[in-house]
């Protein structure tokens, strides 16, 4: 025993040490990465972000250089704070606050100390930077929007937050990333790859030469330029028409699914989200919960589509063989079930066949047709499933799955939906007649309606609507070039298209005709309600219009949605016709119609629910007339706002 004490102790200590080494070097060792080694300084070289062009080759988004003052708190040494602050044009309190914040984020990782210096400030500061240990200047590219339109389309870039850094380690504090629009959905294409230089440093933070002779250094890969499908002239015109209104316009080229215009109202100048004021401006826009400028109404506004949905029911009925185009239905200002009027209708001739049913948008006709579809099957649930399947083949009721950064699925209810709502077999066609006229449970977004119009215009197929036209040196995703077919046979489309054509000829949009263009359309008027002080209150109806033109081989399919615009042809119909004329002819001949739109505002209408006073809606109101909205002087280069950083805050 006496001989063994030291021996055993030696063996024990040796094993404990080996275990400790195992713990430190093997078990606890996240795989070693140069990027995490704080003995190695990483110097990043940010590449140019890809430019964005519109479909006609017009440059929409370019870059401008910007210089951030970065800080690595651990490496900061006592400095002449007064001089530093005056160079950066910040106060000593700002200095302390920012310093504490970056230290709190990480003492050893760089974070932005003062963002976006102007070129002149940068020049002055660069000379003196050596004096301030722990600070350095990082060059990046900010966006330079050569246009004032399309904020919702183009999106913007902003600093990454910690959550993004944790999920995607490519990004470091202070890096910029696409936040909305195409900047978000094509981030990886536009961004390129930043170059990294690895430099060995010592404990005093001095550079002592490139790490391993620069073997691991990488060159920056520039971002790729992209061309988007937007026609900036059409987009601009759409935004002009949408002035003083809220709503969305989506125009699609049915022959390939390219989105020609994607307007949301109200919008904002994309240059607001460039530079030091970005965060302030973004909060202002984002927190505006009344007009919601950051809410893309063309993509995200999910509402009952109203009458345009009737054409889907007509197509389904023809496909299911429950109706003949010549079958007539009489309308007594509504649809009656026994003595009960299930739905009202407006004044028009009676009885109507399919053509007149569409052209006059007769509710009774479509409730009748819809009930025939459902009652054709013994089981209403089964019938609804078949019906929903048809409707969904038009891209309704689900995400379109495209390259836009936001979207909504809409809703097409099926049998299960009502089984859940009412109980198995405890409902029938009369419970759900609202679906016949696009009210009730059916919901869709403007882009879905535009796509539906495209599918009808194509007589039975559509391409997934998308915004990418060309990527430098790449081909676009094949899912945008393969047609998707609806479940309706081609032959059933002709009578429905004819009906939509007659909407313009003799129906609800007869006053909106554009000379020389055969437009097929469908008006819609959707009731809507809000809660004011927890009282459900009806507001003026939404004005909806869906169209495509020309009638054969259509070049444009469009959906317009104007909040509280009252009946379909009043605002949405006029705007759709003007957009079609603008796109096909390039100029406007119906200036009377354009004048009307530009001189009428809905702002009064929107203010009503917030006025706190009782108000009238629909026909009992008068429309606000304003001075004609002028087309903004779009000198594109002057329009882009150059960053003027380092201007002390006015307050």
């Amino acid at each position: 025993m006496r001989k063994l004490l030291l021996l055993l102790t030696v063996v024990t200590v040796g094993l404990v040490f080996i275990a400790r080494l195992f713990y430190l070097q093997v078990y606890n060792n996240k795989s070693y990465s140069l990027l995490d080694d704080n003995a190695i300084r990483k110097v990043y070289d940010y590449p140019k972000r890809g430019y964005v062009y519109d479909r006609n080759g017009k440059l929409l988004v370019a870059n401008q250089p910007s210089y951030d003052v970065m800080i690595i708190p651990r490496e900061v040494e006592p400095l002449d704070t007064l001089e530093f602050c005056s160079l950066l044009k910040i106060t000593k309190e700002d200095f302390k606050k920012t310093f504490a914040k970056s230290k709190n984020y990480s003492p050893r990782l760089p974070s932005v100390f003062v963002p976006q210096l102007s070129k002149t400030d940068y020049a002055v500061l660069q000379e003196k930077m050596r004096k301030f240990k722990g600070f350095y200047i990082q060059k990046r590219f900010l966006r330079d929007y050569r246009t004032s339109i399309g904020a919702n389309v183009l999106g913007d870039i902003g600093e990454v937050n910690r959550r993004i850094i944790e999920k995607q380690p490519y990004y470091k504090m202070g890096d910029l990333i696409g936040k909305q629009g195409i900047e978000l959905s094509y981030e990886n294409t536009l961004r390129g790859v930043k170059g990294t230089k690895f430099i060995q440093k010592d404990r005093f933070n001095k550079n002592i030469g490139p790490f391993k002779e620069g073997r691991y250094d990488t060159l920056p890969k520039p971002g790729k330029d992209i061309t988007i499908t937007i026609d900036s002239a059409l987009q601009e015109y759409g935004e002009l028409l949408m002035t003083n209104k809220r709503g969305g316009i989506v125009a699609i080229d049915p022959s390939n699914g390219e989105i020609l215009a994607m307007v949301t109202g109200p919008s904002y100048n994309p240059n607001l989200l460039v530079g030091r004021e970005r965060n302030k401006n973004f909060s202002k826009l984002f927190l505006d919960s009344i007009s919601k400028p950051t809410f893309d109404r063309g993509l995200q506004a999910q509402y009952p589509p109203g009458s345009p949905f009737k054409v889907i029911n007509a197509l389904i009925a023809l496909q299911e063989g429950v109706v003949d185009t010549n079958d007539k239905v009489s309308c007594r200002m509504g649809y009656y079930y026994g003595n009960r009027r299930l739905t009202g209708c407006h004044h028009h001739k009676s009885p109507v066949d399919m053509n007149d049913g569409i052209a006059q948008s007769c509710n009774a006709y479509f409730v009748n047709v819809y009930r025939r579809i459902i009652d054709n099957y013994d089981d209403a649930g089964n019938a609804m499933n078949i019906w929903a399947n048809h409707a969904k083949s038009f891209g309704l009721g689900d995400f379109l799955n495209n390259d836009l950064s936001v979207g909504r699925p809409g809703r097409i209810p099926d049998g299960d939906y009502y089984d859940r709502a009412y109980g198995d077999n405890r409902w029938g066609s009369t419970y759900i007649v609202s679906n016949a006229i696009g009210q009730g449970e059916v919901e869709a977004t403007p882009i879905q309606l535009a796509n539906m119009a495209a599918a009808i215009g194509n007589r039975g197929y559509y391409y997934t609507p998308h915004i990418i036209k060309k990527i430098e040196g790449e081909t676009i995703d094949s899912k945008y070039t393969t047609p998707k077919y609806t479940t309706i046979d081609k032959r059933h489309f002709e009578p429905v298209v004819q009906g939509m054509f007659d909407v313009y000829n003799k129906g609800t949009a007869a006053t909106l005709r554009i000379p020389g263009i055969d437009i097929c359309g469908k008006t819609g008027t959707a009731e809507n309600f809000v809660k004011i002080d927890s009282v459900k209150t009806q507001l003026t109806d939404h004005s909806i219009f869906v169209a495509f033109a020309p009638k054969d081989n259509p070049k444009i399919a469009i959906a317009v949605f104007v909040e509280n615009g009252y009946w379909g042809s009043r605002f949405a119909g006029r705007m759709a016709s003007l957009m079609i004329e603008k796109y096909i002819k390039g100029e406007i001949t119906r200036t009377d119609m354009e004048n009307w739109i530009l001189t009428h505002s809905l702002e009064n209408e929107y203010a009503k629910p917030y006025s706190g006073e009782p108000f009238k809606i629909n026909g009992e109101t008068t429309l606000q007339v304003i001075d004609k909205v002028e087309k903004p002087q779009n000198d594109d280069l002057n329009n882009s706002i150059k960053i003027h950083a380092n201007r002390p805050n006015p307050n």
């Binding site: 006496r2 030291l6 080996i18 080494l21 070097q25």
Partner: protein
């Protein structure tokens, strides 16, 4: 291993090979830790690795001298060597030179010599001489105290020179005492003091008292034959409690703040995150850097001369006390485990040889050598990998420095010489 009749090859070659491996590998790591810029020549005397290479060269001369002397010389002159070493330590108070607050060096021109490195083998020799004396009986208190005195003298002198780390080395001679017949009870007392001290600092007096009481009650019931009386147990308990209280007082009032901090960090006593952060910054910078360097080595290491932290000189004093972190970073788990195994092999080999000695002098001396290497290895490596509070002592054969290298070489090779002579003993 032993070839009679051929003087030159009776040495234990296993020990010598282990020694050469450690010194050689040590030098590679000093090269890595100390070089700045391009390595022009390995003999570049302006660089530490160049100097150390010269020290190694001189070491070889030293070895030849040690091995060529008569084995009996060391036994006969043990007292004189010891007294000379003690005088050298005393002389420091008059002629010594302060480096980093410790008065441990003689300065001769640009050279410095650290006598405490040489006091170790002198003490081991003197202890061996005393214990192997026929008149010495290690079972008697008087002789035990005399033996302790041999150790206490250099320990106190070195402590007075403010080199607490080197003082600790002398505690390792406890293993020698125990081997040579120190009563069992001292081992129990030694272990108990360590456990009590840690318990008192970490969990406080009340918890320590409860633990001590439970252990004593257990002993009372399990040792039926030679039962200690209740009065005795209570007295032991009181001693334990007052010892614990003493440890607390010592910690709070005698230790210097930096020593308190080291212990506090080791036992994780500080709970306030702000103070802890401050403490880490002040006291644990080396430790954190060294642990990070070791961890970053991974399984295979970054390769010789490729350690980024070593290159950037992130670990202060890396070529001396923190040399093991270079091994960890550049040679990884495999390399550092190798070093641990080499040290274990060396110590176990010495122990094996010591047990096989016929002369008690050689055996005691061999035990002393093993104990000194063991404590140096344990404290240094344990500290660098964060298992033991920071104590500044070098890693034998690895750390840069002439005095240290020579001190350890003499310590080891006197034993190699003694061992080679065992054939002549009877």
């Amino acid at each position: 291993m032993y070839r009679e009749n051929h003087r030159g090859f009776r040495f234990d070659w296993i020990t010598i090979v282990l020694f050469l491996l450690l010194v050689g590998f040590g030098w590679l790591n000093i090269l890595s830790a100390s070089h700045e810029g391009e390595i022009v020549s390995y003999f570049d005397m302006s660089q530490l690795y160049g100097k150390h290479l010269v020290f190694i060269g001189l070491t070889l001369v030293l070895i030849v001298i040690i091995l060529s002397l008569e084995a009996k010389f060391y036994e006969r002159f043990a007292s004189i060597i010891y007294i000379t070493a003690m005088l050298a330590l005393v002389g420091l108070f008059i002629f010594g030179k302060d480096v980093n607050g410790a008065r441990s060096w003689y300065g001769i021109g640009s050279m410095t010599i650290q006598p405490s490195e040489f006091a170790k083998f002198a003490t081991a020799l003197a202890l061996a001489k005393y214990m192997s004396d026929l008149q010495t009986n290690m079972n008697t208190l008087k002789d035990q105290l005399r033996a302790v005195a041999i150790i206490i003298v250099p320990a106190v002198l070195i402590l007075l020179q403010n080199d607490a780390g080197s003082t600790l080395v002398y505690a390792s001679f406890f293993f020698v005492f125990y081997r040579e017949g120190l009563q069992q009870i001292y081992l129990i007392i030694a272990l108990s003091t360590i456990i009590l001290a840690v318990l008192a600092l970490k969990f406080g007096l009340i918890a320590t008292t409860i633990v001590a009481a439970i252990v004593l009650v257990a002993i009372y019931f399990f040792r039926r034959k030679k039962r200690v009386s209740i009065v005795q147990s209570v007295i032991i308990l009181l001693v334990c409690v007052s010892f614990s209280a003493g440890v607390k007082l010592f910690y709070n009032h005698v230790l210097q703040p930096h020593q308190q901090n080291r212990i506090s960090l080791w036992l994780r006593l500080e709970k306030d995150p702000v103070l802890l952060e401050k403490m880490k910054k002040e006291e644990a910078y080396n430790l954190i850097q060294s642990e990070e360097a070791i961890s970053s080595g991974g399984v295979f290491g970054k390769g010789f001369l490729q350690g980024t932290r070593t290159k950037g000189k992130f670990v202060p004093e890396q070529e001396t006390d923190y040399i093991f972190s270079t091994v960890g970073e550049e040679w990884g788990f495999l390399g550092s485990t190798m070093v641990v195994i080499l040290f274990m092999a060396l110590i176990i080999r010495i122990l094996y040889l010591a047990e096989s000695q016929k002369s008690q002098f050689s055996r005691v001396y061999g035990y002393g050598v093993a104990s000194v290497f063991f404590i140096h290895f344990t404290i240094n490596t344990g500290m660098v990998m964060g298992l033991i509070p920071t104590v500044g002592i070098p890693l034998p054969f690895f750390s840069y420095g002439g005095s240290g290298l020579w001190g350890f070489t003499i310590l080891l090779f006197i034993f190699v010489k003694l061992d080679s002579n065992k054939i002549n003993e009877w």
